[in-house]
Amino acid sequence: MSKSKGTPGKEVAKAYEKYAMTFTPKPRYFYNCVKAFIAGGLLCVIAMLIQNRIMASGWEEKDAAALLTIILICSAQLLTGLGWFDTIAKVVGAGVIVPITGFANSMVAPAIEYKKEGIVLGVGGKLFSLAGPVLVCGISSAALVGIIYWFMGGMR
């Protein structure tokens, strides 16, 4: 490594990236896509079945949707805790990451990993290390949209 001491770190990193690229297997785009499509589609169908079941037992549509979200999030988090979610995600990829289950998983997964840092700062803090950006960006943009709508309503 003494020879590359003088070269800028960026060039070395770039060369390494190129070198590593020759070893990384090319993802099978189409195959992965089909798997994500089927898994994501099935998940949505199951969600619809559950929601219809809830509505059949006398809940309003809005409440049923909220209840469904709670059920999906809790089951995804339980699967993450048991260690099964990663196994499923490894097979179907975005099929379970893009639905709300992926959001639920992204909260629990880092929180469990950092458990040894304590229950308050470790678990409580890392719960938002991945979900934080999603919530911050989502809520900020939604609030901005709401304020713009309020502004436009005031002008009329």
Partner: protein, 117 residues
């Protein structure tokens, strides 16, 4: 027929996510952010509502649906004044976010890390 539409739309959104993960260098959390914000922006122009009417769970269960309910709450709240515009987003998604935080915390405290099987 509703189930077929839910399957198709939900599947397509997930397939788009898979393409983003594979073809670009975007990591999982970034893809999640992109999906939520795109849901917010689409609903800001009232473009996501037709998809929800068409596909039901197929549009609300994937993450753009989360952005959709954030934006929908904010827009509905905006008609009640500035305070509604600020509180609306979280009011409409309070159930999901609270469940995710409380149950997530519980699971993370109860379970121990496991290696990938």
């Amino acid at each position: 027929m509703d189930y077929v539409y839910a399957f198709l739309i939900g599947g397509i959104v997930c397939a788009i996510g898979q393409v983003l993960l594979d073809a670009t260098k975007l990591t999982g959390p970034r893809v999640l952010v992109i999906f939520v914000v795109s849901g917010v922006i689409l609903q800001a122009f009232n473009l996501y509502q037709p998809l929800v009417d068409f596909a039901g769970s197929g549009a609300t269960v994937p993450l753009p649906g989360f952005g959709y309910s954030l934006a929908k709450g904010a827009i509905e709240g905006a008609s009640n004044g500035i305070l509604g515009a600020i509180t609306g987003a979280l009011t409409s998604t309070a159930a999901g976010i609270t469940a995710a935080i409380v149950f997530g915390y519980l699971v993370a405290v109860l379970f121990n890390p496991k290696s990938l099987r």
